[in-house]
């Protein structure tokens, strides 16, 4: 059994834990660092897939956790609700509005202290005024209140400095109105982190999976090979020259269908230091920026603790 491999057997995953210290394998820190590899597999506006090889689970996990909850964004925090005659109760409406992702680079803003005023430095202000009317011809206008109805109310010189702010999506339904109903509100965005409230989380989700390692335990040919190929829903296997081969191991979703009835043919395994990250952004930051910010945050944390350790080391023991 390879310490760097976890095996998916019929009933349970095996060898999942890493108990040794990374340096216990006789490698030096430099060797470990030089072995780290990072490849971007796919980069789109809304998501990013990265391969990270050669790091340990705690580091990869730290990155994931920071992306979820510690990279700051802007989100609506305070609402002055002047009018709400819709069917949605005030607090539910406020909750809904709070969850709308705002397209604003949080790095341009400061965190707002509880007893600080809203200012151009720490706040983006929007206005929402939606009225639903029945026109003379009987048609109804304004029955849907969308996130696109939020109007930016720039603080003095915000416009010059930052350009334009708006919600990421224009088509999120906030509320539905009937004729004569009205919502009027003033909304204030603040900078915050996901650990406080998920509305500040920059990602829809950021997660990773371990790279699959699929091997055939024996030569599979003929009928069996075709069966195996058909069994896998993700098209991992193929038949070449009458023999089964592993074609697309990365497609594997660990469904274990190929070993469900008979586990003598395929060995399913996971490489424990190969992480395939998927980062989906809510839109405020690009996924690449989120990842970068997360690394920065992790580095800052490390530096903070290094500092602490150094201070501790320097203090004479009594």
């Amino acid at each position: 059994m390879d310490a760097n491999t976890a095996y998916l057997t019929q009933n349970t995953p095996e060898n999942v834990h890493t108990v040794e210290h990374p340096l216990s394998g006789g490698k030096t820190l430099e060797e470990i660092l030089s072995n780290i590899e990072m490849t971007i597999i796919e980069e789109k506006e809304e998501h990013l897939i990265i391969d990270l090889v050669g790091i340990e689970a705690p580091i990869a996990n730290a990155l994931r956790r920071i992306m979820l909850s510690e990279v700051p964004t802007m989100a609506i925090e305070d609402i002055n609700l002047w009018q709400n005659t819709s069917v949605i109760p005030d607090e539910v409406l406020a909750h809904r509005i709070g969850l709308i992702p705002i397209d604003a680079d949080p790095r341009l803003f400061k965190f707002k202290h509880p007893n600080e005023e809203h200012s151009s430095e720490n706040c983006i202000c929007f206005k929402l005024h939606a009225v639903c009317r029945r026109l003379e011809d009987g048609s109804i206008v304004g029955d849907k209140v969308m996130s696109g109805d939020l109007q930016w109310q720039p603080f003095p010189n915000q416009q010059e400095r930052f350009g334009h702010f708006k919600p990421v999506h224009d088509d999120i339904i906030i509320a539905k109105l009937g004729p004569g109903q009205e919502i009027e509100a003033e909304l204030f965005c603040e900078k915050g982190i996901g650990a406080t409230h998920t509305k500040w989380s920059p990602v829809c989700t950021a997660s990773y999976r371990l790279a699959p390692k699929i091997t055939l335990k024996k030569e599979i040919a003929g009928e069996n090979a075709i069966n195996l190929k058909n069994k896998c829903p993700m098209g991992v296997f193929d038949v070449k020259k009458g023999k089964a081969v592993v074609k697309n191991p990365r497609n594997c979703t660990s469904c274990r269908e190929c070993i469900r009835e008979d586990d003598s043919m395929v060995s399913l395994a996971k490489v424990k230091d190969h992480f395939i990250f998927t980062i989906e952004t809510t839109g405020a930051l690009s996924p690449r920026d989120i990842f970068r910010e997360a690394i920065k945050e992790l580095r800052d944390k490390a530096a903070f603790w290094l500092d602490k350790i150094n201070i501790y080391k320097r203090t004479p023991k009594s």
Binding site: P13, A57, A62, D90, R209, P233, T253
Partner: protein
């Protein structure tokens, strides 16, 4: 038939329920009352006219009675009202009762039509309700939810349900064995006028008749003799001439001759001497006459007896005796009391009918009293002649009905009946709880009695009464719920049926001698328990009656039953029987064919057409015994007569929510039935327009991923109560022991389990007898940021003195700044009062958390001129300790709320909303929950709802295949990564969506602690209970622990110093309690010492003294 067409036939159920709704039984019965029964009551000879004892010319005759549409009279203007207006304004949804009368005024006959005699509460949805047959849009205009079940009343703004009452059937002979091992045949006779119980009983080898009016048991032969059967042979013939009957009767006949009673007169005299509370002396009648009267009117009063023609009664008694003898010889002949064929369910219509008749009789007797008083006085020749209308008290009927419905106390004078708990407030906790209440059956049995019979499941309730839905604990099995398709019959006129029976060859029993009645091959025919006659060809009669019923010529609810063993045919058309529809099978073929179903889907036919064309028919519990019913198409054999429409209908509407209930351990389904009613959700489309005291709502309620047919039929998919939670079944952190669940913080921040608590607080400005009234005052002006609490509590008020909509209030904040005049007695003019003449009496907000004022409601009604209702809405995200439950009786509290990044996640990045501990499964055996998860997960990938209908539903195999196709594990177990360590989780985790309900038990409503606080006035001990900010009791058992441990000082501290310590003055010389250093007994202050004791102890001494017991305190210093 193929699987396909079998499924199609299920469409009949929605069609059936669409037509009738879930509460048709209530509405039908009330319709019957309003249209038919009320007219019968008023036209019955004992009610239809009022005469005077003093003026033979006078009469008042009721010619007709009607109930109009609901309306209200305000300031002499009559306007129609909607139910919602009644709820909002605390009015009664009632309609005027109008009568047409004819009476004598002076010496003229006067006819009046349309005279109002009172107001009749109107059941929502009945024929006199404005909501009847209204489209969804019209209902919306009346602010009514289209899915509201209706079938309840609104009395003073409160929704009241008259629960279905279960009773043993009336006018039927039931044979039982009593505690002394005697055979007892009893019959409860019930007519409009009287109710009485007649018992024929064996005692040793003799047979007696027992009756409430008779002080002693009467030997049966004497009864026969008194009824005019003189010859012993005739008695034998009435009962049966076979050996066993003669043997059994022998002893009883002998008794006759021992007592030397041989003639009718002697027998009557004998009975006459046994009558309780005999009025013979008063009325001057002889004992014989009185005895004959009792026999004619009281004994077996439901058997008609005109002009002392006892023949029908004699035959009836003969049958009873025969039954007793049969049961003596064969214990199998004893009836089962719990058998549903012997039970009748009383509905709102019948109950209100009884009440109305009672009130109407009282109304008439009041008129009579009044009239008699007028006519007994010497006539004053001048002035207007007396008009009887002035003697009518409209309020009596109105208030009698309203009081009964709002308190639930049914007291009927003429039956000496007092029943409590007939009505209940309609529970609006959730849509399901309202539905459940409308289909609930209350049993008359005492809850305390430890009997298992009436509580246990009965074979005959199959399909009629839900086997799962019953509460746990004391009323288990006594409170039941109707199954989905059960219908309760209403009374049908008997005449038509009896005529039909006679024309089909039933021969009148009076033409036969007793002996011939019992000859083999002859079937005795009974209509509603009354002997009608005999028929020599039972099958012909039964088949033709059924044929006629299927043709729709007589009511579809008439049942015809052949009881082979007893050679009896029972025809029933009475009300309160349980029936349900079946598909008719003829010659192994279902009469419902695919083409019919097609027409149904096209809307070309409805369920009634199926009944009218004889494709589907209703069977009651008794007739089910004559039918061979196939459960499914596959089971049809040669003998099959009927086919179940769908097996899932054996469950009621609440149990119908459970997906795959047939895979669960049975008690789990019962638990879910109790919890489904506590789940927060949407209670109706008009939920934010209602002003209930408390409403619990869920902010983002979701329709379940795994549905059942019942869910769609009862519209639970439109008014759901719960969330499709992503659940991972694994252990996590140890905060999930004992069924606790782990919640994802991010999920709850995104709206999972977020509930709204809508509360209403009333405050009315009263008007007092002296013409003064409460007033609203402007609140004090608040200066500065930190005002004192006494001023700060006014912060939410408007200038008008009422709270501002939108403001946030906390406990103790004033909602309505009201002042009451100090002087409520003397006549003073309002304008002359100064501020000092008023004292504040504001309404304060009660509630644990800061809450927003959502709406204000100001109204008036005839009783309250100025009614202010404040509606607040509190939003509550789930917190530690809130109770959640799946639909499988698996409840758990939130044990820990975890950051999203700490939650495990799968390869796609999915992470659960909730983690449930796998230990919940083995002992509960809720396999249905496992299947729900797999089905739900597969449905998610397919983009389709899955079905977990009872005894059907999507197969696990198919769901597993779908999972595999989408790259998931066949069994629903995924590879998960741990959120804290980042490594793989060392097991495959069963994960997917499960429907979770948030239950109403929330920590915020229950959390309570106190240091010091209020005390009760009498004992000076801390108050009890959270509502009164009470102390936490150190009870006997806790005290025992401390005693055992020997912590004496702690006990003293807890029980005295922290509770009701009191320094009493005690006189050392006499041992009495003193007061303020003075002993009244010794008249001295010399020997007074101070003693610390509990105030309750001091109180006890004083109370003992008041009873002339002198507790003496002997003091010594340690």
């Amino acid at each position: 038939m193929s699987q396909n067409s079998h499924q199609e036939q299920n469409l009949l159920i929605p069609a059936f329920l669409q037509l009738r709704g879930l509460v048709k039984q209530h509405i039908d019965s009330y319709d019957y009352f309003l249209t038919t029964d009320i007219k019968q009551i008023v036209s019955s000879p004992s009610n239809c006219c009022v005469l005077s004892d003093y003026n033979p010319d006078f009469y008042l005759k009721y010619k007709d009675i009607r109930v109009l549409m609901p309306s209200i009279e305000e300031d002499a203007v009559i306007s129609s009202i909607t139910p919602h207006e009644c709820r909002l304004r605390d009015l009664t949804y009632a309609a005027p009762i109008e009568v047409d009368i004819e009476y004598i005024k002076g010496n003229k006959i006067i006819c009046r039509s349309g005279l109002e005699i009172g107001m009749m509460p109107i059941m929502l949805g009945c024929c006199n309700c404005v909501l009847r047959n209204k489209s969804e849009e019209e209902l919306a205009k009346m602010l009514e939810c289209p899915y509201d079940p209706r079938g309840y009343f609104i009395i003073k703004g409160v929704e009241k349900v008259i629960l279905i009452q279960e009773q043993a059937s009336k006018n039927r002979i039931i044979v039982e064995i009593d505690s002394k091992n005697n055979v007892v045949a009893q019959v409860t006779s019930s007519t409009h006028e009287k109710k009485s119980r007649t018992v024929v009983q064996s005692k040793g080898s003799k047979i007696y008749m027992k009756h409430n009016t008779l002080s002693e048991d009467i030997p049966i032969a004497i009864v026969f003799k008194a009824l005019g059967v003189q010859a012993d042979q005739e008695i034998f013939q009435l009962v049966g001439t076979q050996k066993q009957y003669i043997d059994a009767l022998g002893m009883s006949l002998q008794e006759c001759s021992i007592l030397n009673i041989l003639t009718e007169k002697q027998a009557l005299r004998f009975i006459g001497s046994k009558i309780k509370n005999s009025k013979a002396a008063k009325t001057g009648r002889t004992k014989i006459e009185e005895a004959r009267d009792v026999l004619a009117t009281v004994v077996l009063s439901h058997v008609p007896c005109e002009n002392y023609d006892f023949r029908a009664k004699i035959r009836y008694l003969g049958i009873m005796v025969r039954k007793v003898i049969d049961a003596m010889n064969d214990p199998k002949k004893v009836d089962d009391r719990d058998y549903y064929g012997n039970k009748r369910l009383e509905l709102a219509g019948q109950l209100v009918g009884l009440l109305f008749e009672d009130l109407f009789k009282r109304f008439n007797s009041d008129i009579k009293k009044h009239v008699d008083k007028i006519f007994s006085k010497p006539k004053s020749s001048k002035g207007e002649p007396f008009d009887v209308i002035t003697a009518m008290n409209k309020k009596m009927i109105t208030e009698g009905l309203n009081n009964a419905i709002s308190t639930g106390n049914w007291s009927l004078k003429r039956f000496k009946m007092e029943r409590a708990g007939v009505t209940e407030v309609l529970s609006r906790l959730s849509y399901m709880s309202a539905l459940g209440m409308m289909t609930r059956i209350n049993s008359q049995f005492e809850k305390t009695r430890k009997i298992s019979g009436p509580r246990s499941l009965q074979g005959s309730q199959f399909g009629m009464i839900c086997p799962s839905d019953t509460p746990e604990g004391e009323s288990c099995g006594l409170v039941k719920t109707l199954a989905l398709t059960t219908h309760i019959t209403i009374d049908q006129p008997e005449e038509q049926i009896s005529k039909l029976a006679f024309s089909l060859g039933v021969e009148d029993a009076s033409l036969f001698s007793g002996d011939e009645l019992y000859s083999p091959g002859v079937f005795r025919v009974f209509l509603n328990g009354q002997p009608l006659g005999v028929h020599r060809d039972a099958d012909f009669l039964i088949n033709s009656l059924r044929e006629i019923r299927r043709k729709g010529k007589i009511s579809e609810f008439v049942s015809v039953v052949k009881v082979e063993e007893e050679q009896q045919i029972h025809i029933a058309c009475d009300g309160g029987r349980l029936t349900r529809p079946f598909i008719i099978i003829e010659k192994c073929k279902s009469k419902v064919e695919p083409k019919h179903i097609k027409e149904l889907t096209l809307g070309l036919r409805n369920f009634d057409d199926f009944v009218n064309e004889g494709l589907v028919e209703y069977l009651d519990v008794n007739e089910e015994n004559n039918a061979v019913i196939a459960m499914r198409h596959e089971n049809i054999s040669e003998d099959t007569t009927h086919l179940e429409i769908d097996p899932f209908t054996i469950l009621g509407c609440v149990a119908g929510l459970i997906p795959y209930p047939h895979h669960n351990q049975s008690p789990r389904n019962t638990y879910q039935c109790a919890m489904g009613k506590q789940a927060l959700g949407i209670i109706g489309y008009n939920q934010f327009l209602r002003v209930d005291t408390v409403l619990y709502l869920l902010a983002y309620s979701q329709t379940p991923m795994v549905r059942t047919k019942t869910i769609e039929i009862v519209n639970y998919d439109k008014l759901p109560a719960g969330h499709n939670a992503s659940v991972a079944v694994m252990s996590y952190s140890g905060y999930d022991i004992e069924d606790a669940i782990i919640l994802n913080k991010a999920s709850s921040e995104r709206g999972f389990g977020r509930s709204l608590i809508v509360k209403r607080q009333n405050s009315d400005l009263r008007r007092y007898n002296n013409g003064l009234s409460d007033r609203l005052v402007m609140p004090p002006v608040i200066h500065g940021d930190n005002p004192p609490p006494s001023i700060k509590k006014f912060h939410a008020l408007d200038k008008g003195g009422i709270v501002a909509v939108g403001s946030i209030v906390q406990t103790g904040d004033v909602l309505v700044n009201k002042e009451t005049p100090v002087n409520k007695v003397d006549d003073i003019e309002m304008s002359k009062l100064t501020d000092n003449d008023f004292k504040p009496s504001f309404t304060c907000f009660k509630g644990p958390n800061p809450t927003q004022v959502n709406r204000l409601f100001i109204a008036c009604n005839p009783e309250e001129p100025f009614l202010i209702k404040t509606v607040t809405i509190e939003t509550r995200p789930p917190e530690l300790g809130d109770k959640f439950s799946s639909r499988h009786g698996q409840k758990g509290v939130v044990g820990l709320i975890v950051q999203q990044e700490d939650m495990p996640f799968n390869e796609q990045g999915w992470c659960p909303d909730m983690i449930m501990n796998p230990h919940g499964f083995p002992s509960r055996m809720t396999v249905g929950k496992l299947i729900e998860l797999v089905a739900g997960k597969s449905g998610v990938f397919q983009g389709k709802f899955k079905y977990g209908t009872a005894f059907a539903g999507d197969k696990v195999i198919d769901c597993g295949e779908i999972l595999v196709k989408n790259g998931f594990n066949y069994t629903g177990k995924d590879v998960l990564m741990c959120g804290t360590s980042g490594e793989l989780v060392g097991a495959y985790i069963f994960s997917g969506p499960l429907y979770y309900q948030k239950l109403k038990h929330m920590v915020a409503d229950k959390m309570h602690a106190r240091a010091i606080g209020p005390k009760t006035a009498l004992t000076r001990q801390p108050t009890e209970g959270r509502a009164r900010e009470g102390g936490l009791r150190l009870g006997e058992m806790e005290r025992d622990c401390l005693i055992g441990y020997g912590a004496a000082s702690l006990i003293q501290e807890r029980l005295m110093y922290s509770s009701d310590v009191f320094i009493a003055s005690v006189c050392e010389s006499c041992g009495n309690l003193g007061y303020e250093q003075w002993c009244q007994f010794c008249k001295s202050r010399l020997n007074i010492v101070k003693v610390k004791m509990p105030y309750a102890c001091k109180l006890l001494f004083q109370e003992l003294q008041a009873m002339n017991i002198r507790p003496k305190l002997n003091l010594s210093s340690s």
